[in-house]
């Protein structure tokens, strides 16, 4: 144990632990306890129903797809914002934070208004047979919306830190632009891309406010897992069922946190070797 020179150790750790304890640790323990009390059979009785399984499939499936789309769109946006100078670049850069800062319920009703059959975009898509609002496509869209800034903001500092030396070297060795991108840049960006992907995924899995309006919450079709948790608490007072489902969601978040920590460790080791 090293000697503590500065004062305030007990005060600062005490307050930190008091807030963490009452807001995070105690509730976490209560959830784990309630889920464990059910036992494996009781847990499966709550989670194994057709309705819950359908919602979990939609939540995880749509989130995986949305995070993938976010990586592609986010890479494009981050690349353009860092590498090129154009009109309204600063405005665009500031706008990227919008899904972070816009209340999710507001984003939800705005997306619904746009894509509803009588909305600006919806009225143009519905004649083509594309229904975004009140369909799984809507769930996907809302998840892409909330996840985008995570990818852009994780990539931007890494792109800024690359000084172009390696790209120039690849150029002098005769690499084409596509080769330079795929074989020089992409490996350098990979840790940030994976971290951005995991962050967007975690957010999309747990997202509630921006999804429930556009999804329409149709039974077996467009119900997401967080919506079912709310239903169980709000109208059925089924706290054990909610806890069983919540435990699945929490396990997914913790797994993603561990994966992110592993990626960061791996990236650091790799950076040292380089």
């Amino acid at each position: 144990m090293t000697r503590r020179v500065l004062p305030g150790f007990r005060l600062s750790t005490g307050y930190t632990l008091a807030v963490l304890g009452s807001c995070v640790l105690l509730p976490l323990a209560a959830l784990l306890w309630t889920a464990c009390e059910l036992g494996p059979a009781g847990w499966w009785a709550q989670v194994g129903t057709r309705r819950v399984l359908a919602s979990l499939r939609l939540s995880f499936g749509a989130a995986l797809l949305a995070a993938t789309i976010d990586v592609l769109l986010g890479l494009l946006v981050a690349w353009v914002l860092v590498r090129y100078r154009f009109a309204f670049r600063r405005v665009c850069d500031a706008l990227v934070d919008l899904p972070f800062a816009l209340p999710t319920a507001v984003a939800g009703i705005a997306l619904t208004a746009l894509y509803a059959p009588n909305g600006w975009i919806g009225s143009r898509l519905v004649p083509w047979g594309i229904e975004v609002a009140y369909s799984r496509l809507g769930v996907l869209l809302a998840m892409v919306f909330v996840g985008l800034p995570f990818v852009v903001r994780t990539l931007q500092p890494v792109l800024e830190s690359l000084d172009g030396d390696l790209e120039e070297a690849a150029y002098t060795l005769g690499a084409s632009p596509i080769q330079r991108f795929l074989r020089v840049l992409l490996p350098l960006l990979l840790p940030a891309l994976l971290t951005g992907y995991a962050l967007a995924l975690a957010r999309a899995i747990g997202e509630y406010g921006s999804v429930i309006f556009i999804s329409g919450n149709r039974l077996f079709q467009t119900e997401i897992a967080p919506y079912l948790i709310v239903q169980k608490i709000d109208s059925q007072y089924d706290y054990r069922g909610a806890a069983a489902l919540g435990a699945v969601m929490l396990a997914a978040s913790l797994l993603l946190l561990l994966a992110m920590a592993a990626v960061q460790r791996w990236a650091r080791r790799w950076a040292v070797l380089r």
Binding site: T16, L31, W79, V106, A113, Y208, V230, L250
Partner: protein, 286 residues
């Protein structure tokens, strides 16, 4: 090398295939941002103002909406200072001391960002609700947490917990403890060190964290939805009011939503200003 640099680097004037690719990429990015971010923002204000300015003003002056504004401000006024203190305490503990479980503490501080807000609200009910761990004790002492203001505050504190700490910890880590230790050898006590040495060096990062914390506190929906019971005029915050109005009065819901959208725009504006004026002092941020 000059030719090479010109084709790749940021400032140079590139040859035509590269400039074409550049233009196409910029247009694609603008299209993505316009479609995904700008259109929803415009839709809020368009829908809010569609029935006319008189209707708009009337909608945001309804007693229930004003009650929601008051409640949102009250919740933020309690939760944000709590998290400001939490951020300072956590950063002080994490950057000035070595102790066992420090890595775990750091992970716990970040945890609320990856937990679904709905799950957060449910966990609070399992502890503080009527049938929760502390339910009967709280009831015996006449304290109602869930479906009341304390529950709203707890849920808000949970979802905004990492904001201030996350800005301060990397910054204070980068600054080190030397100046604080120098002040100590010159005879300053703990509070003097904190207020005269530490605080002035982190004030902009602190403000930055508080700004983001406040935006999330006023806009939180999922976690608050679960613990509020959404009693109109009593436990409805602004986002919950938007949700309830959406079912009955479309345009009024968008009028209230536009207030929250305005708050978002102001927040983003101040955030940009802080990054632009004090970017150096926010460094260490990731």
């Amino acid at each position: 090398m000059a030719v090479v640099a010109a084709t790749i680097s940021i400032g140079g004037r590139p040859t035509w295939p590269i400039s074409l690719a550049r233009t196409v990429l910029v247009l694609c990015a603008l299209l993505v941002l316009g479609w995904l971010l700008v259109l929803p923002l415009l839709a809020i204000f368009a829908e809010a103002l569609r029935p006319g300015v008189a209707f708009y003003l009337d909608a945001i002056r309804q007693p229930d909406t004003l009650a929601a504004v008051r409640l949102t401000l009250t919740v933020a006024a309690i939760a944000v200072p709590l998290n400001l203190l939490f951020g300072l305490a956590a950063a002080w503990a994490m950057t000035h001391f070595e102790f066992r479980g420090k890595a775990l503490l750091g992970a716990l501080i970040d945890l609320p960002f990856s937990v679904s807000p709905v799950v957060a609200g449910m966990m609070l009910i399992l502890v503080y609700g009527k049938y929760g761990w502390l339910g009967s004790w709280l009831e015996a002492h006449g304290v109602q947490v869930i479906f009341a203001l304390p529950g709203l505050v707890l849920a808000t504190v949970f979802v905004t917990l990492p904001f201030v700490a996350r800005e301060l910890i990397p910054l204070m880590q980068a600054q080190g403890s030397e100046q604080e230790e120098a002040a100590l050898t010159l005879g300053a006590n703990g509070w003097q060190i904190f207020f005269r040495v530490t605080l002035p060096r982190v004030r902009w990062a602190l403000l930055y964290g508080v700004l983001l914390c406040n935006a999330r506190a006023m806009g939180e929906f999922g976690a608050v939805y679960v613990v509020s019971g959404h009693l109109r005029g009593l436990t409805n915050t602004l986002p919950l009011q938007v949700d309830q109005l959406y079912e009955e009065n479309f345009a009024a819901a968008f009028a209230v939503a536009s207030l929250l959208a305005l708050l978002t725009l102001v927040t983003l504006g101040i955030k940009r200003l802080l990054e632009w004026r004090h970017g150096g002092e926010l460094k260490g941020r990731h």
